[in-house]
Symmetry: D2
Subunit: 378 residues, 4 copies
């Protein structure tokens, strides 16, 4: 068993989720590598120390450049706000580190291209944390589509609905609320939530050709945590877009943080000639499936409880009927990343794979401004 | 088209439901007979007149004996409280009338035997209004079981849960609340609600051999509407029983009027070797079906929307996706009764069929008293 | 009780549904008028006779102009394909008849304006059969919104998904399939299905300002039933549009006949500041409701079984827990139409109300062509 | 931070689940103790070594008596088949070790009494792994009931349905299938599955007074893995029982391994005067709640997604909308056990608490034999 020394930059929600993935993977998966929590990095020494102690990181850094220079780090995990991804990844690639970067890859496709070229030039293993591909029900959906069970695809629809920013009293910016600050996040729901929908759906159904979008910012001004002043809100609170996939199917995507009653209602549905399937993050352990080949009067939507050993990833866990949860997606992603190292066939999404989502997000945001259909640049 | 002249005794909730069945059947089913609303009968002339005018009955009677003597009546519909069923049915049979009797057939199996013998001796068509057999999803369940799709049956469970008598201030007895008065109703939930569960389940799974029951009366005394006095409550508020079916499967039945949140939560589930199915009156247009023969990872419970033309009764109605409701069960039962007249093969449940439910109810109530397992007498 | 003499033009699915509404309304609603099935009209004398006999129409006509001239007709019901609505309605208005017209009102807003002016000039009662407003759960949603329970509305989304035209072997045109023939139908899913979504949503949430749409015709050519030749398909198989409502909320609408597994999956959801609600035609007796004012840890989506006497229309029917179905919407609409006659306050949607949906459909179809946002003309 | 040295006896499914609980608890809960995986014990040295290496146990033992004697073990975890619980626990208590024993506590109440007396005499911390109390939704149900929100309780029903032993070809006995061997397991579904239902329901609703049960063994003979011979099956394949709780409410319990379509369908429902709640292991992150105090027309069953920081245990995990799974129940139980050590107020269920479930199981099995109601001995 070889060690895979992890250097974690950032210690927020994603820092915890990834770290949990590293710590648990070897208990459940037989692998040649064991992630070692070598160092955690953050600007606030007290807070990063607390994080490191809690999770068992061996050391801390307060300057990410130092972390990247360390000889004992194999793999840099980038969990900073989006506006830091590019700089860190470019430096990490240059230093010859493997990189696992939180999604979205970048602030723009332009940045993304630069980052792809950097990791490819450096020849370092790289991956973006689009974790929802590794929900077993989602992976199973991918298998069913790849086996051709749905036949020709006509429709894809995906939504990511939340309700946590409805109050106009919520400020923007700072450590806790950087997702509301356009300078740190780049965009609102488009990069934060729709990016997940897009990543999953292009994985399931292939690339998107063109888009027509509308965005809205319901609360126009919010106090900024850092300046203490009321400032214009630069992010999109909601975004809806329609699109054509390369295979001729129609897509309909929507995301908002103003859908009262939905915490993280991430859903998708795919309608094919022969079968359809749908999924909902709030019940992530189920896949809904309709098969037209069933006998006529017995046709119906099946709710498949994804907990059997012949479902993706499940043989590594418990027994039929017992649910996995959200955090398992990160364990799975670490396992797949390591298997990619072992096999030489990199786990997806690589930076290059994730660049496609970036391009679509760019086209979506552009279309929302031009009020025109926009082609996805490639 | 021949006329089938109906004489309706009683004009409450069931009087309305049956009448609606008679009035609508020919619009949707091609039949040789047309029910004609000849006369409605009730002791209160004003009220029965109002009922007759509303629904279009040609005449009224205030004495059921007169109704039965009328030459222009072919068919007597008995919608009175349970304690009147026997006397009216015996007289109607003697008068050579066809009889459609509201469930439960009688106050006891003993009464039921007498009533069966009377209609059989008289050779008159007869039926009991166990209407839920004619919910299309329930009829479809019967078809699936009869086709052997479930294989050997291991378990049947059925419940009928309500919550309308929880308040201790609710009185008992009188026109509106005779179901709470043991003198009029014979029993509480056993005859009123469990009788439906039993009728459906023995239709689906064959006869019951023995039972072990417990009943409870949560509110021990209620004001009686007729006497104005606080009187002991003689009915069962709740009844649970376990049983063996003749085929070796186990049954578990429960009914109560003290299950907060349930209006008419009538459900059943049947578990067989190869498949299982379940149904719920609150979503009566759906049948849930699990088939073990499905491919392993694709196994799941299917929710079948029973609205296609190849589902029972549905070709007579609208188009796929559009729901039928409660009242259609009575239309179906009238249609089947008439088709029974046409074919000479009587529609079930006849009095004789319904007697079996009576016997089981008797055994259930007896077991609740003796605290022993009781065989179903035959 | 006054008679309201009905002349029905057309005898297909909608002819049956409306007729059933007329026949049943007085059994359940206390009204001053009784619809009388005076005459049914269709070009095929044999078929219209069969229809008239089945439902009890007193007479038939094979020329709709004759029907309109008849003195004994008070009210003309227009159940023809869409391309006949205008001419019949103009003539009927001129003849001073009340008019109940099947939806969509017209082939275009231009036609619709002409029709509105005609009925208003003639001063005749008029209504369009957007029946889904009268699903009790939908009417209840309207009440909750009008009471201000949702607060400021942010999002409306509505879909109508079907799957019955996926086979390329299905022909277009003729009596059964005129909905696939652009000459008879005017458009595909936009006028047939989205019109329902639009009517309901503007009733719930006010007018729509502008739209951006995409349409698709997946099967480009189909055999035409009338010509026997393979012809280009002129209708839209699928249509998705985004929009702004006048109140600043965002709308997302989608309809298709290529969504495998959905028979008539008509749904809507409305997200407000304080509460959200959603509904689904496949379970039309339920309204889903989320109220942010509930205590924090007890917040959740409630599934309200709309069957109590304090729910809209329900006091006229059965008892709590027992479902209504699709056809009741037409009974309700007839009742409301008659109550409008009684009160002098016309039931909605009048032709004028329904014109708004026509305008939106026009803008949607235009946007799909121009690939631009289009304002809804008024 | 103090170490809590764990000695694990057994290394099957439960050995893994408990171990995972020990390893993860300090990442998520702030505690004064840290469980240390000191030793794993099993008779098969190769297999126990593999287990120990996988999970990181520092050492192994092949004789549980040696493990118990070790000075460096603070806490013995008993994950053996049921027939070993008594002997090991008595010895461990005598050796002054804390004991965490897998459920059911014992083969009989008689054994259980002996075990309670042993741990109480020794004064050692003790707990039984009825893990489902620590599903957040279940803990939340307990809170709601304890706050009096349901009012007087009328009904409790609980089921645990599985389908994995339907095939008659499945053998009994041995490491994998000891649950089918009466000598090792003591009983079938009663001790394995109903014990969970009973533990949860008496926690929620208080003690049970008397029971009436029926059991069934559908497959009468199975090949025994150890002897290779066809032997009589001594366990119960299915068990249904009715009961009275001390507070006057009625209970209905059922468990089987012959309910096709159910993997681990563990459910309960509690009906109170003012409110009702229900839960299902297959969707363990949801609690269904009906509150009669809601406004009349808005009453309905709410599906509460238990993932907010004000839900039990949730503040230790992720963010709203993201699900926990099965294994978290064990993490919670370890956390609560340790908090019990810290506070001096032992976490439940202690051996003494779990003895009550044993007594009820005994009464259930006795009633199934005597076919009488049996009081729960105390």
């Amino acid at each position: 068993m070889k060690n895979l020394n992890i250097g974690m930059i950032g210690y927020g929600f994603m820092g915890r989720a990834h770290t949990n993935g590293y710590k648990r993977v070897n208990d459940f998966f037989k692998l040649d590598y064991r992630p070692v929590l070598k160092a955690a990095c953050g600007r606030d020494a007290v807070k990063v120390k607390e994080f490191a102690d809690n999770w068992g990181y061996e050391s801390i850094e307060t300057d990410w450049k130092k972390l990247i220079e360390r000889k004992d780090i194999d793999c840099v995990d980038v969990c900073t706000p989006n506006n830091m991804h590019r700089e860190i990844c470019l430096a990490a690639a240059k230093a010859g580190k493997m990189i696992l970067c939180e999604k979205p890859l970048a602030m723009s496709a332009e940045e993304g291209v630069e980052m792809c070229e950097a990791v490819e030039k450096a020849g370092v293993a790289n991956m973006v944390w689009y974790n929802y591909r590794r929900v077993p029900a989602v992976t199973f959906a991918k298998q069913l589509i790849d086996e051709g069970r749905l036949g020709k695809i006509f429709h894809v629809r995906s939504k990511f609905l939340q309700d946590w920013t409805i109050s106009a009293d919520l400020p923007q910016g700072g450590a806790a609320l950087w997702r509301l600050d356009v300078a740190a996040a780049g965009s609102g729901v488009t990069g934060d939530l729709l990016a997940h929908c897009i990543d999953t759906c292009i994985w399931l159904n292939g690339l998107i050709k063109d888009v027509s979008a509308v965005t809205e910012t319901f609360v126009k001004e919010r106090k900024h945590t850092l300046t203490g002043k009321i400032e214009k809100v630069g992010i999109d609170d909601a975004c809806i877009f329609n699109c054509h996939f390369d295979n001729g199917s129609l897509g309909n995507f929507e995301s908002t943080r103003y859908a009262r009653g939905h915490k993280a209602q991430y859903t998708f549905e795919v309608n094919g000639e022969n079968a359809s399937l749908s999924w909902d993050l709030h019940d992530l352990h189920r896949l809904n499936y309709f098969d037209y080949k069933d006998e006529g009067p017995l046709r119906g939507w099946k709710s498949i409880h994804i907990s059997d050993s012949d479902h993706p990833y499940l043989k590594h866990w418990w027994v039929p009927g017992l649910n996995l949860g959200y955090e398992h997606t990160f364990v799975h992603q670490v396992a797949d990343f390591i298997e990619g190292l072992q096999s030489g066939k990199p786990a997806s999404p690589t930076f290059r794979d994730a660049l496609e989502t970036q391009r679509i997000c760019d086209a979506v945001l552009k279309s929302a401004k031009t009020k025109q259909w926009e082609n996805v640049g490639r």
